[in-house]
């Protein structure tokens, strides 16, 4: 069993410090929004969680391509790790968005294009995780995972652009939103700094968790191979 790399220890500490700072900025530095009030603070980590979700699904698609080209099992471990982390963070984004919607729109859920496509993305990747569990043969599982991760990634940019091409009440943060968007607000410099810092922090959290999850995946691979060897 390999020992924990020094750089991973450093990344753990840097990520923790960034996270503490980001939390401090959200609650102490960013000003109170004039219309929505305190619930607007959910926005900083809600968007950052969605960002990690989309980033990880993209990493999984690239890992899928790399696996199909090179056949290296390492890429399967990377893809699986990225999907699992993104699935968790995208789930947080959906739930925190729903809570924000209750405070801002007065409803927990509406079948708006953004909310609907986000729910579809989450279900698509839930199916990825469940279907992988059902395949015994590691090579077949890796091939299936690679193809699925590439194909399912189509749903991710669709979610991103849904608020830009359809009539929607979901606010657009970057660029201009639809006329019917509710809950939009003008970001003050302090809000923008907090928002950008949260995105940076969550990128570090993703990198850190991905490294840990890849190490876990390698350990699981090792255990699986040894189990096959012992049983034979």
């Amino acid at each position: 069993m390999e020992s924990k790399p020094r750089w991973l220890n450093i990344l753990d500490i840097v990520t923790l410090l960034l996270f503490i700072t980001a939390v401090g900025m959200v609650f102490l530095y960013a000003p109170l929004e004039a219309v929505m009030g305190q619930v607007q603070r959910v926005f900083y980590f809600h968007v950052a969680n969605a960002w990690v979700g989309m980033l990880g699904f993209m990493v999984a698609a690239f890992a899928g391509i790399a696996f199909l080209r090179k056949g290296d099992r390492m890429w399967d471990i990377v893809g699986m790790a990225a999907v699992e982390i993104s699935f968790v963070f995208f789930f947080i984004a959906i739930v925190s968005g729903s809570i924000w919607a209750r405070g801002s729109w007065g409803t927990w859920w509406t079948w708006d294009p953004r909310l609907t496509t986000a729910a579809i993305v989450e279900l698509v990747y839930a199916a990825y995780l469940m279907l992988r569990q059902g395949i015994e043969d590691p090579d077949r599982r890796a091939r299936f995972g690679a193809v699925y991760a590439i194909l399912s990634f189509v749903s991710v940019p669709l979610t991103f652009i849904s608020i830009r091409i359809f009539r929607t009440i979901h606010p657009v943060i970057i660029g201009s939103g639809a006329a019917g968007a509710e809950g939009s607000f003008d970001m003050t410099p302090k809000m923008l700094q907090t928002f950008m810092f949260s995105l940076l922090t969550f990128s570090f959290i993703f990198a850190d968790l991905l490294w840990h999850r890849i190490r876990l995946g390698r350990l699981a691979d090792q255990a699986e191979n040894l189990k096959i060897k012992v049983l034979q």
Partner: protein
């Protein structure tokens, strides 16, 4: 005073903010704990499998 009356106070939405961050922090924490537990279990499995392999030899 008249101007102050015209200005609308922000909506009282503190409980939604608390609920939102409770979900965010709890789920993140649970995921990290799950990684730690799975790693510990896998290490135990590996030790056991290594022992079994050595005994077979």
């Amino acid at each position: 005073m008249f101007i102050a009356m015209l200005q609308q106070a922000p909506a009282e939405t503190t409980r939604y903010m608390v609920a939102g961050y409770t979900v965010i922090f709890s789920v993140m924490m649970l995921y990290i704990i799950s990684l730690i537990i799975r790693r510990r279990n896998l290490k135990r499995d590996l030790e056991m499998l290594n022992e079994m392999e050595t005994k077979e030899k």
